[in-house]
C-alpha cells in the first residue's frame, strides 16, 4: 500500500518537475519578453508543485530523502513522469500543444484529487488546481491563436498535435498502482476523467480549427519508468550541478 502510494505521488511529482524543467528551457529564448515570463511563471508553478509532492514522497518512503535528493539523485528509470512531459520543446506550437494537453489533464486530476482520502494530497491538489486553472487559460488561448492564426501557425500546430497525440493514451491507462489508489479512495478512477478531458480538448480544437488525431493503440509507460530517449538529456542537464558538486547550496 505505502509502496503504491509512494509510486503514485512520485508520478504526480515527476510529471510536474519534468514539464517545469522543459518550460524553463525557454527562459531567454521565448518569442517575446511577455511569453518568456509567462512560460517561466508556469514553470515555477510546476516546480513548486513538484517540491511539495517530492517532500511528501520522501516522507512516505521514510528513508530520510528530501525533495532535492529525489529530484537530483534519481536516474531515468526511477523517474515516473508521463512520457508527454519529457517531449522536447520543439517550436512554440509544439510547446503549447504539449502544455495544453497536460494542463487539461492536470485540471481534471487535481480537481478530483481534492476529494482524496489522503489529506496531504488533497491539500496539495487544492493549491495546484488554482495554478492549473491559469495554465489552461494560457495554453488554451494560445492553441486558438495558433490554430486559427496564420497558415503557417495552423500547419505547425496541427503537426505538433499529430506528433504528440500518441502520448495522451498514457494519461488514462490505469495500471495496478492507479487501481489500488482508486480503490483506497486516494486517487480518482482515471477512465472517469477521460470524458471531461476529451470534451475540453475537443472544444478548444474546434475553436482552433484543428483536427483531433486518431488514437493509436500503443501506450507509453513513462509512469512505470519506461521513457522516450529525451528524458536522459533533460536529467543530465538538470542534475549536473548536484552530481558534480554534491550538496552544493546557494
Amino acid at each position: 500500500m505505502s509502496d503504491a502510494r509512494l509510486q503514485y505521488v512520485l508520478r504526480l511529482a515527476d510529471t510536474s518537475l519534468v514539464l517545469g524543467q522543459r518550460l524553463a528551457e525557454w527562459v531567454g529564448h521565448a518569442p517575446a519578453l511577455e511569453e518568456d515570463l509567462g512560460l517561466a511563471n508556469v514553470s515555477l508553478d510546476l516546480i513548486g508543485q513538484a517540491r511539495l509532492l517530492l517532500t511528501y514522497a520522501g516522507e512516505i518512503e521514510g528513508r530520510g530523502r528530501t525533495e532535492d535528493d529525489l529530484a537530483m539523485s534519481r536516474d531515468q528509470s526511477d523517474y515516473l513522469n508521463l512520457a508527454m512531459a519529457e517531449q522536447p520543446n520543439g517550436d512554440f506550437a509544439c510547446t503549447i500543444v504539449r502544455q495544453f494537453l497536460i494542463d487539461a489533464f492536470q485540471l481534471e486530476l487535481y480537481e478530483a484529487l481534492q476529494q482524496s482520502k489522503d489529506a496531504r494530497l488533497a491539500e496539495i491538489a487544492a493549491k495546484a488546481l488554482k495554478e492549473t486553472r491559469y495554465h489552461v487559460r494560457y495554453s488554451a488561448s494560445w492553441m486558438v491563436r495558433l490554430g486559427d492564426g496564420t497558415e503557417e501557425s495552423h500547419r505547425r500546430t496541427q503537426e505538433a498535435l499529430n506528433n504528440l497525440w500518441r502520448y495522451t493514451q498514457e494519461f488514462f491507462a490505469a495500471d495496478a498502482v492507479d487501481e489500488e489508489m482508486a480503490r483506497a479512495g486516494i486517487a480518482p478512477v482515471l477512465a472517469e476523467l477521460a470524458p471531461r478531458w476529451s470534451a475540453r480538448v475537443d472544444e478548444v480544437l474546434r475553436e482552433a480549427t484543428l483536427q483531433r488525431p486518431v488514437d493509436t493503440p500503443y501506450s507509453w509507460h513513462g509512469k512505470r519508468g519506461d521513457h522516450t530517449e529525451h528524458l536522459g538529456y533533460l536529467l543530465a542537464e538538470m542534475q549536473f550541478l548536484h552530481r558534480a558538486y554534491p550538496g552544493a547550496t546557494w
Binding site: A32, G38, S141, R145
Partner: protein, 98 residues
Amino acid sequence: MTRVPESEWPLFEVFIRARSGLEHKHVGSVHAADARQAIEHARDVYTRRQEGVSIWVVRSSDITASDPSDAEALFEPAKDKVYRHPTFYAIPEEVKNL
C-alpha cells in the same frame, strides 16, 4: 497615429490596483495581440510579486497625451496658488490613503 506593422503586437498600457479600495495605477506596458492577451501578459509581467488584485489594460494608441511644449501654459499657472493644497487643516489619523 503610427501604424503598427502586422508582424508586431500592439502596445498596451497596464494599470494595477494594489488592494481593494485603492485606485488603479499605471505600472508599465506590454505587447499583446489583443486585450485579452494583454491582461495575461500584464498578469505574468507585473503581478509576480503579489502587486495587485485587479488589472486594466488600454491600447497605448487610444491614449491622448498633452503636448510637452504646452507644459508652460498648462501647468505654470498653478504654481503660485498654494492655497489649493489641502494643507491647512489636520487629517484625522483614521484616514489612511489620502
